[in-house]
Amino acid sequence: MAMASVPALERHRGIRVGASRAGGALRRVGTFVAVLAALCGLWEGYKWLWEWAGWTWPFTVDDVTMPHLHDILAAFAEPTTTGGPVLIDSLLHAAWFTAKEALAGFVLGALIGFGLAVVLAHSRLLERGLLPYIVASQTVPILAIAPMVVVGLGSKGLEGWKAVAILAAYLTFFPVAINALRGLHSVDARALELMNSYAASRWKVLWRLRVPASLPFIFTALKISATASVIGAIIGETPASIQDGLGGAIVNFNQYYSLQPTFLWATNIVAAGLGISIFALVALTERVVLRRAPENVA
């Protein structure tokens, strides 16, 4: 029978997919290493060419403006103060402190964003009335409100890192709210009719249909928010003079830049690494949670 051959076909395809998946992973690692090497080459090549030719546009290139990559890497092993811990130690501590702020802000912001989207998706009136203000909230420079939030909440007895987490949430909630709202609205008219035919309550339509349908949108937003939360945390630390995190380290090493430029660059690498880690965490979760048609995976 024609149908009997179908499972066999599926199995055959399964084997090929499995084989190509291993090959694909290898290829992706290869591509990653190649791109990384190319970027390093670009940095060093640019530095060498500008120094050799003596060009001063757009800026003078020397060991202060563009330290050698190997010098930056070597800086990780240097003590920050005489007899103090090596740089990598203090940076990892700072990164852990900032990660705490960023993750707390990320989770808080994602929950607020999702909650807002659910409320707005169920009321045209609220959507029209509130959406402009939600958009406006993101046009306020975070640098302007950071001291207000941290100092204001600090005077009410809130720990500094928690206040910074709220700032991170401020940056995080927006992409989640906008994308989740779009996702909740993206449901196919027929799928809604189907739920109606079961006389499904709004609550059931939300959890059985709207939320699952919006997950690809939400994960796209979470990826944006993952990196935004780290930036929010770092920016939140600086005006509030919180010394324990990466923001504090950046302010500190910025002051000594002309003496120790490699320290600031090393801090940047760690900060980027933190953002990438949270992003990767979201991407991994997406892989586990979303098993959709290939064309529906954002």
């Binding site: 499972p7 009719e193 189907l194 109606n196 035919s197 059931k204 959709r292």
Partner: protein
């Protein structure tokens, strides 16, 4: 009141859209238990709208619709009908078996009962072995069979089908026609079936309701007296061709002498 022994009882039904277009005018139709009734007609004759009114997904402008002697609204709340659309409308985040069990979850069935019923339904539509597949891994015809299994899973008295095979190729369509007849016999349900295809309507139905457009009304009702059970040879019987011709002539007569203003695009879809 509806006469006893009617699954669907429609009288004086009219549906106008806000655009001023009258989609359905003065529709009267009774459907008895176990009947297989096809609605056929040109685009814009309101056959899909009529189906949706029976399912209480669209509200009529005037007239009454009774399903099992109850209002269409009450019938929907009581889960009296299952529906199958032209697209299978499967949730791609659910496996095949969890798609079939969706209405059972809505009805609050226990896990064990759901599992057993899903097994039965997949057996009925011959998809045993595909339980954990995702919808997008199946062919269009298989997806539509999952959709039929889902619609029948909770034993509704009435099955509403809106051009369920319209998007499939001719060979798959004919095979699914045969399967649908087998399922109809086994499940002993009543089916209202919207189609564009005359041979499909004649092959499947006990009655074909021929509709005309602008405004949509019932032009003729053709009783299909082909013997049951039907099979591949049914399509070769002289009686089959006579009936196909009868439906075709009814369709042509329904369209004759009517002005045919062009509808705004998508009017039928928007209701």
């Amino acid at each position: 009141m509806s006469a006893p022994g009617r699954v669907v009882s429609i009288s004086g039904l009219t549906k106008s859209f806000k655009t001023g277009v009258t989609a359905l005018q003065e529709i009267d139709l009774d459907i008895r238990p176990g009947e297989f009734v096809s609605l056929i007609g040109p685009s814009g004759c309101g056959k899909s709208t009529l189906l949706r009114i029976v399912g209480d997904l669209v509200q009529p402008t005037s007239g009454t619709v009774l399903v099992n002697g109850k209002t269409a609204h009450r019938a929907r709340l009581d889960h009296d009908y299952g529906i199958v659309f032209q697209d299978s409308v499967l949730y791609d985040w659910r496996t095949v078996s969890r798609n079939v069990s969706l209405p059972l979850e809505m009805l609050g069935w226990s896990r064990a009962r759901r599992k057993e019923r899903v097994r039965e339904m997949l057996e009925l539509v011959e998809l045993t072995g595909f339980e954990s597949n995702r919808p997008w891994q199946l062919s269009g015809g298989m997806q539509q069979r999952v959709s039929i299994a889902r619609a029948l899973s909770f034993d509704p008295a009435l099955l509403l089908m809106d051009e369920p095979f319209g998007a499939l190729d001719e060979m798959t369509r004919e095979r699914l026609n045969m399967e649908l007849l087998r399922i109809w016999e086994k499940a002993a349900s009543t089916i209202v079936f919207v189609t564009h295809s005359i041979p499909e309507a004649v092959f499947l139905s006990t009655r074909v309701v021929v509709m005309s457009a602008r405004p949509g009304r019932i032009a003729d009702v053709v009783d299909v007296d082909l013997p049951q059970p039907r099979g591949a040879e049914t399509r070769e019987q002289p009686r089959f061709f006579e009936l196909v011709t009868a439906v075709r002539e009814a369709l042509a007569a329904g369209g004759r002498g009517q002005p045919a203003p062009t509808l705004p695009a998508g009017t039928e879809e928007r209701y």
